[in-house]
């Protein structure tokens, strides 16, 4: 898994490539924590090139969501293929994450003051 973080206009966009699994989800967790600790409150995860996400990946996103909720920030997800979307659906997480089809839609929907 590779993560590229692009900061622009007070938003961090995570471009993730590969599989998010038990072995590398701690890396995603660390990147999310560092970003939130820097004071960035708006995070978009682009799933265009994510092939697979397991429960540890989902749990990492939930932890990020909890942290951002505390500081009135937002986490959004976009560009998932059907398999990834199914994982969110089966785990009943579709309603707690804002999921968008395109990066533009997601970026335009952050409720910044």
């Amino acid at each position: 898994m590779e993560i590229k973080v692009i900061n622009s206009n007070n938003t961090a966009v995570f471009e993730i490539t590969g599989e998010i699994d038990l072995y590398n989800s701690p890396q995603l967790r660390q990147q999310l924590t560092e970003t939130i600790n820097k004071g960035l409150k708006f995070i978009l995860l682009d799933f265009s090139t994510v092939k697979y996400i397991d429960s540890s990946g989902l749990a990492t996103l939930i932890e990020g969501l909890r942290k951002l909720n505390k500081v009135k920030g937002e986490i959004k997800l976009c560009c998932m293929n059907k398999n990834i979307r199914d994982v969110f659906e089966v785990s009943r997480l579709e309603d707690i994450f804002a999921i968008y089809n395109t990066r533009e839609e997601a970026l335009n929907d952050f409720k910044k003051d």
């Binding site: 699994d21 038990l22 397991d54 429960s55 540890s56 989902l58 749990a59 990492t60 932890e63 785990s91």
Partner: protein, 262 residues
């Protein structure tokens, strides 16, 4: 996903598995059926690497596990979960701690992440909010569901089930069957289920294998098994006393066994 080739196992002079050959395809639910002592649990124990065969091979994801070192076998074991007959929970640990156990043992995930995964798995088996109870405080069916949550904690590709409905009332057994089907349909998990319960077997199976005297005597879809003309298969699925399996041994055989000291 799993390929078993000519598996032979003897316990003493008794042949328990006799040239068993069977294939389990990715994503399917394969039910292994047969009467008590037919070798089905022994076959399951071979598949999870608890017993080594006398000869033959078992390939899991194209790797032969029959000659594997314990270290390599432990790596393969991470790709599957196992639901034991009684749930096999540790009584001194809470429900949540039981589900967390494989994640703590085999991963470097932080405790907050593990706690979230535990909640997700308990939700999948319909036990949200039960994480702080002890096994002694929940019913037998709930214990099975906790065992299942633990079996899928690591997101395995395969789950082995040993008599999942044993000791449960029909409604609870049906709910366990539904969970097995949900995991298979929704998560694409390959399921291998050992059972002698007909209703359950026909409800959940994509394909079934019938074992008799250590041999696979029939493999097929539930419809194909129903229509099988093999005398034992017919006797077994219809629960008949008359057939290849005699209710009692013959009088001569009985008297001989008493007098010969065997």
């Amino acid at each position: 996903m799993i390929r078993i080739e000519n598996l032979i196992k003897n316990f003493g002079t008794r042949r328990i598995l006799d040239s068993v050959t069977l294939e389990v395809k990715k994503g399917e639910t394969m039910v292994i059926m047969g009467g008590s002592g037919c070798g089905k649990s022994t076959l399951l124990r071979h598949m999870i690497g608890l017993i080594r065969p006398d000869s033959g091979h078992i390939y899991i994801k194209d790797k032969d596990i029959t000659g594997m070192s314990e270290h390599d076998l432990n790596e393969v074991r991470k790709s599957y979960g196992m639901l034991f007959q009684n749930g096999a929970l540790l009584n001194s640990l809470t429900v949540g701690q039981n589900v967390a156990l494989p994640l703590k043992e085999h991963t470097k995930l932080g405790s907050e992440i593990i706690n979230i995964i535990v909640k997700m798995k308990l939700e999948l088996v319909g036990l949200t909010g039960f994480e702080n109870l002890l096994p002694s405080e929940i019913s037998g069916g709930m214990k099975k569901r906790v065992g299942l949550a633990r079996a899928i904690a690591m997101d395995p590709e395969m789950v082995f089930y040993d008599e999942p409905g044993a000791g449960l009332d029909p409604i609870t057994a049906a709910s366990i069957d539904q969970l097995i089907m949900d995991l298979s349909n929704k998560l694409g998990i390959t399921s291998i289920v050992v059972t002698h319960e007909m209703k359950s077997a026909f409800r959940i199976a994509d394909r079934m294998a019938v074992l008799y005297n250590g041999k696979v005597v029939a493999v097929g879809t539930p419809d194909e098994i129903r229509e099988s003309d093999h005398p034992y298969v017919s006797q077994f699925i219809n629960g008949l006393t008359d057939g290849p399996v005699p209710l009692r041994r013959s009088k001569d055989e009985y008297l001989k066994s008493l007098t010969s000291g065997d």
